[in-house]
């Protein structure tokens, strides 16, 4: 079980309306592959530096979670299927997982 760090850009119209739907979906996918969410922090909405498809603004969410190693690629596949997640990255993470506020100059 390794710890991972994931940063999401979420469609801000959906995030504003129903944030629980986003967190339920994401923790559901992590739970489906027998992972465990350590910390989830919502950075809030922000104007993207460049437009991604139709989106000019996006809501950012940072998540730390544990997951068995072979399940990461399947997790990525499921996250791509979700329409509300515009873009995401999943990275290995060493260190202490905690809720982080939006960084300075965000």
């Amino acid at each position: 079980m390794d710890t991972y760090e994931a940063l999401f850009i979420i469609d801000s119209s959906i995030a504003a309306k129903d944030w629980a739907k986003v967190t339920n979906y994401v923790s559901g996918v992590v739970g489906k592959y027998k992972g465990e969410v350590l910390a989830m922090s919502r950075w809030g909405e922000r104007k993207l530096c460049y437009s991604i498809g139709p989106h000019k603004r996006g809501t950012y969410a940072l998540m730390y979670f544990k997951l068995p190693r072979p399940a990461v690629s399947r997790l990525r596949h499921d996250l791509q299927l979700a329409e509300m997640i515009v873009r995401f990255i999943v990275l290995r993470f060493e260190g202490e997982a905690k809720e982080l506020p939006p960084p300075e100059g965000f």
Binding site: C49, Y50, G58
Partner: protein, 80 residues
């Protein structure tokens, strides 16, 4: 004689290591740390060269990877 003067010239570069990360032991070169990464970009959002940023090769590689990650996540611009 030609060969010796070259060595003397390059020895100077290796001695005064002006890399800010080596000196101040700042650990977190991270794509989330935008304020730090923006200092290492030019006004046009391009990655600053080692000559200008003064980084050593090892830390410049780490900075390059993190800036590209921040650009992918639309936290930092590709151009401008």
């Amino acid at each position: 004689m030609e060969e010796r003067t070259d060595q003397k010239k390059y020895r100077k570069f290796r001695q005064d290591n002006r890399c800010r990360f080596c000196r101040e032991k700042i650990g977190d070169i991270d794509y989330k740390n935008i304020a730090l990464l923006q200092k290492l970009c030019t006004a046009h959002g391009k990655l600053m060269s080692r000559k200008r940023s003064g980084n050593c090769a090892r830390h410049q590689r780490v900075v390059k990877a993190q800036i590209k990650l921040a650009r992918f996540m639309a936290i930092m611009p590709y151009v401008g």
